[in-house]
Every structure is written in C-alpha cells, then in structure tokens.
C-alpha cells in the first residue's frame, strides 16, 4: 500500500509508511468483521425459511395443499390440517385490530394535542404498557378476564366458559394498542404544524382537522403502525395460549374455544413427533410467511414516511 493511493479508508495523513501499513490492515479487517456481522442478519432471515421448509417437508408431501383446508387434527390417525389454527389466528387478529385501531387513533390524537406534561406521562405509560411481558397479559387473562367474561355473558344467557375467540381478541387488543398508538403518535407528531394551523384557520374543528388533514397526510405511516400491530397480534403466543381454550376446531361463534398457529405450536410441540412434528413445522412456516408479508408491508409504508419521521 502506498501513500499516494486515494482509497477512502487510507487517505488520512500519516507520519510514515511503516506505521501506516498495519493500521490500514487493521482498518480493513475491522471493516470486514463489521460487514460479516451485518450480513449475518440477512443470513438468519434466509435460514429461518430454509430450516422450516426443510423440517416441514414430510407434512407437505403427505397432505399437499389439502393441509390448508382440512380441519382435522388427529394424532391417532395421523391426519393433520391447518384450517382451525389459520382461521383462529386470522379471526382473533382481525377482531383485535378492529377494536384496537379506533382506540389507538383517537388516543394518539389526544396525546399529540394534550398539554406537554400530560402527553409525556401518557406517552411513558403507553411505552411501559408495551414493555410488559406477554406472559403477564396471559396470566391476567387466565385468572381475571376469563372468569369475568364468563360471568358477564351468563347474564346475557350465553353459555361460555370464558375461554374463546372474544377473550383472546380482547387480550390481543390490550397488547397491540400501545404499539399502534406509539407509531401513530410519532406519525401525527411529524405533521407540519403549518398544515394543522391552516386547517384550524379555515375553521375546521379538531376532529375535522384530524380526519381530513392529519389522517390523509400521515396515512402511510399510520398504515405502517397498523401492520406493526398486526404482526404482533399474529405471532403472539403466550397470551393467546392462556385464554383461547386451545380447541382444534374452527370456531362457530365468538364464544367458542379456538386456537392460533402460535398457540398450537407451543401447546403440542413437546409431545409431538414424526408426522405431527412435521405438520407443526408446516404451521410454523405458514405463520412465518404471513408475518413476513405483513412486516414487508409495514416496512414499505413506514419507509415512505421514514425520512420525514427521522427514521425511528
């Protein structure tokens, strides 16, 4: 390496070549090390898919595409279908999102508009809510919410043991609310004040400003937040495992027991082997693909606003 090369890493002034050479060498090796570490992340991502696809091969060969539509899960006859788990996952997630979305949006509006001290306290509270481990939500759901739901619905003459789609959806709502709210808050905060003030200036009420100006301006970021919440609800294991009832059937009503892909995995994996284990891996692969698709959408929408939000 000679002192006049104009490579970016070696262009710094240096006292002498004898000292410079080892430095440059160290520089390059450090750089390569960092690169390897960074690439590791991408490799892991690919490895997930490869590993699960490999491990679920037997199930795909045995059931083919029927795996998606069969609702049988019978370890005795060794026939497995993914439909109950898929339906349970989609149902609880959709329900949770439907409840959480309006709540999160108006909460974010309130936090953005509130006086600074209140907004800071509420923001911190929301952050802490997001930090509580999911198992604690699950335990609370199991011992507090389920009996409560049971009692409540008995008043309306609905016979349920408290476990089921609705309870799972409510727990998921509580869990994803802070996530969606936090992203929405950030998105709403980055709206230029000029826009809001102009809207107020032409006589819009706060809600009209929010609906017609803020919502439209930040729609992509808000959608990104929605997908983040969706991703969390989709892959949530413990909270759902505790309250869903873990029945391997397609739920007929909101009060029926159900299961989700993640809960099925956690529940059955320990005692499964052979084809059942392979079927569980196939479920895992389905979940991975779903989560991946949702994350890709989330990143796509968030990236559009990322530059404006200062990449959080």
């Amino acid at each position: 390496m000679n002192a006049t090369t104009h490579e970016p890493e070696t262009r710094q002034g240096r006292p002498s070549l004898a000292v410079a050479a080892p430095h440059a060498c160290f520089d390059i090796s450090f750089r390569t090390l960092c690169l390897i570490c960074a690439v590791l992340c991408g490799l892991l991502m690919v490895a997930f898919f490869a590993q699960l696809a490999l491990a679920s091969g037997d199930a795909w060969r045995a059931f083919g595409l029927r795996f998606f539509v069969s609702s049988e899960w019978n370890p005795v006859t060794n026939v497995y279908g993914a439909l109950p788990a898929i339906v349970g996952t989609l149902l609880t997630t959709a329900l949770a999102l439907a409840i959480a979305l309006p709540l999160a949006f108006v909460s974010a509006l309130f936090i953005v508009d509130a006086p600074p001290w209140l907004s800071r306290i509420l923001g911190q509270a929301v952050d802490l809510l997001a930090a509580i481990p999911s198992i604690i939500y699950g335990m609370w759901g199991l011992f507090v919410l389920c009996p409560l739901m049971q009692e409540l619905w008995w008043r309306f003459d609905i016979d349920t043991n408290g476990f089921g789609v609705l309870t799972a959806a409510l727990i998921l709502t509580l869990m994803i609310l802070p996530y969606i709210c936090a992203v929405m808050r950030d998105v709403l905060r980055m709206t230029p004040p000029m826009l809001r003030e102009s809207a107020f200036g032409v006589g819009c009420t706060r809600w009209e400003t929010a609906r017609d100006i803020l919502l439209r301006y930040g729609i992509r970021g808000l959608l990104g937040g929605v997908f983040i919440g969706l991703g969390r609800a989709l892959g949530e294991t413990m909270a759902v495992l505790f309250v869903a009832g873990n029945v391997m059937e397609v739920p007929g009503s909101l009060f029926d027991g159900c299961t989700t892909i993640a809960a099925t995995l956690a529940n059955n994996f320990a005692e499964a082997d052979g084809l059942q284990r392979s079927a569980l891996f196939a479920l895992g692969l389905i979940l991975l693909v779903m989560a991946f698709a949702i994350q890709v959408l989330a990143q796509y929408y968030l990236r559009m606003t990322g530059a404006k939000r200062g990449e959080k």
Partner: protein
C-alpha cells in the same frame, strides 16, 4: 340540502350547521379520553392484580429457595431466577458484540448502499418476527443436533431476538453523531476504525447502552422461544449447556396452566411480579439514561 355536494363547496360557508360539527368534535374528544382511560386503566388493573396477588407469595424464602414439586415445603423460585439471569446474560454476550459491529457497519460503512438497505430491511422484518418461530428454528438448529434441551439453546434463541434490535438502535444512535466529529477525527490522522471506535462510539455510548438495555428487557420476559429450548427443571441451573434450565417465564407457564393447585398459582403470581419488576426496572434505567444523554 339540495343537490349540493356534501363536502365543502368551492367557496362559501360549510353546509353542516356549526352545532352539529361541534357536537361531533366533542363526541370524538370524549371517545379519545375514554380510549386512553381504557388503555391506562387496563395497565393499572393488570399491574395492581400482579402486585396484589404476587405480594402474597413474595418473601425472602420465595426468592432464595429453589422450586419444588407440589406439596414440598419451602418452595421458591430462586433457581428459575438464576436461570433467567444466566440465559439472558448469555444471550446478551452472544448477541451484543456482533450486533454492535453490524450497527457500526450500517451507519459508518454501508450507509445508503444497496446491501445496507437490504440488511436494514431484514433487521426491521426480523424485529417483527413471531418469537415462537425463533424457538422452532433454534430447536431444529441446536436442540436436535445436541440431543438435549439446554439453557444455552435458550440463550441463542433470545440472542437472535436481540440481534436486530441492538443492530438498529446502534445504527440510529451512530447516525445521530454529527459528521463534523468524524471529519475532525480523520483530519487528526486517525484511521477510520479508530475514529469509529474511539470518537463516534464514545459520543453515542449512552444511546447504545440504552438500546442494549431495552432489548435485554424485551427478551427477558420472552416465553415462547424458551418453551422449545431451555424448557424447565426443578433444579439449580448447573447443566447450562447440557440440560433443561429453569427460568421464570416457563415456570409461570407451568404453574399457571398445568397445575390445579392454589399454592402453585400463588407462586406463579409471585414469579410474575418478580419478572415484571425486573423488566420495568431495566426499562426505567434505560429511559433515564437516555434522558440524561439528551439533556
């Protein structure tokens, strides 16, 4: 309202009466207060339940005795607590150094290149991956070849969960360091890596520590991956590399779902209180640290 459009006309007054719009506004305001009350109320409710029920179980013996099968006296959660600390610390040891390097690469060398963008995207996607998938992956990659469940496998699973979080926060923190600092370092004749390690990283140190702490807090309550990897044992975690290792989240799962006994439930609540306090404490420390840096 004749045939005019329902939105604002090109000029002129809005069509809906003012009181209606104000009413709508108030309704939404009321709804937003309600929504926040629900969210914060639920949080307080959950925390109060944990504190109320958990404190019944809590005591010196509970924290210092190992867990035992039902019916034996002097049961506690000390082995699970120690196991959780071991598993989490080991996960941090595995994940943090490479994640810091990866973050440095993204911020200092990769920048906006195509590879860096792809990797950044991968990290973001991996942050949203269901943790149960990571458990499955590590089960196939480590538990099956090693032939046994082990605390180490649990550490690897948690490390995989931590990696993208630490990587992205490190990058964000490094990107916040002004370029003038880099340039002055280079102008003094330092090599690129010395500038990075000795100047940039030092300037961004608190932010990076915050990122690491937050990721530790996040994984220390993770349960799903540990179900497939570390599992549980009523023993001290002496066989970290070769046998099931006790840990608090799986202990809670076991006690809450697989046990009909009131005493076990109470122990479960106690363990839930301990893990919640740990996670919240780490979170608070991280946030205070970050606040100081900003000030």
């Amino acid at each position: 309202m004749k045939q005019r459009p329902s939105s604002l006309p090109a000029h002129g007054m809005p069509l809906r009466p003012l009181w209606g719009r104000k009413l709508q506004d108030w309704a939404v305001q009321g709804f937003s207060v309600l929504a926040l009350t629900v969210a914060v109320g639920a949080m307080l409710w959950i925390l109060c339940t944990i504190v109320a029920r958990g404190s019944e179980a809590l005591g010196w013996g509970f924290l210092t005795n190992p867990s035992k099968p039902y019916g034996l006296p002097d049961a506690g959660i000390a082995n699970a607590l120690l196991g959780t600390l071991l598993v989490t610390l080991c996960a941090a040891l595995i994940a943090v150094p490479p994640a810091l390097c990866a973050g440095i690469w993204l911020a200092e060398f990769g920048k906006r290149s195509r590879l860096a963008d792809t990797l950044r995207f991968c990290a973001n996607v991996m942050m949203g991956m269901p943790s149960v998938i990571v458990g499955l992956f590590v089960y196939m990659a480590l538990v099956v070849p090693m032939g046994c469940f082990s605390g180490f496998a649990g550490s690897v699973a948690l490390a995989i969960l931590m990696f993208p979080v630490v990587m992205r926060t490190t990058e964000d923190m490094l990107a916040m360091v002004p370029d003038t600092l880099r340039e002055s370092g280079l102008a003094l004749g330092l090599t690129r890596c010395r500038v990075t390690l000795q100047i940039i990283c030092r300037a961004a140190r608190n932010g990076m520590v915050t990122g690491v702490l937050l990721s530790v807090a996040r994984v220390s309550g993770e349960t799903a991956p540990l179900l497939f990897t570390a599992l549980f044992a009523d023993a001290w975690p002496t066989r970290f590399f070769s046998g099931p290792t006790a840990n608090v989240p799986v202990l809670i799962t076991e006690y809450a779902t697989n046990s009909p006994f009131e005493a076990m439930h109470r122990a479960g609540w106690g363990a839930a209180l301990v893990i919640a306090l740990l996670v919240l404490a780490v979170n608070l420390v991280a946030r205070i640290l970050f606040r100081e840096r900003k000030a």
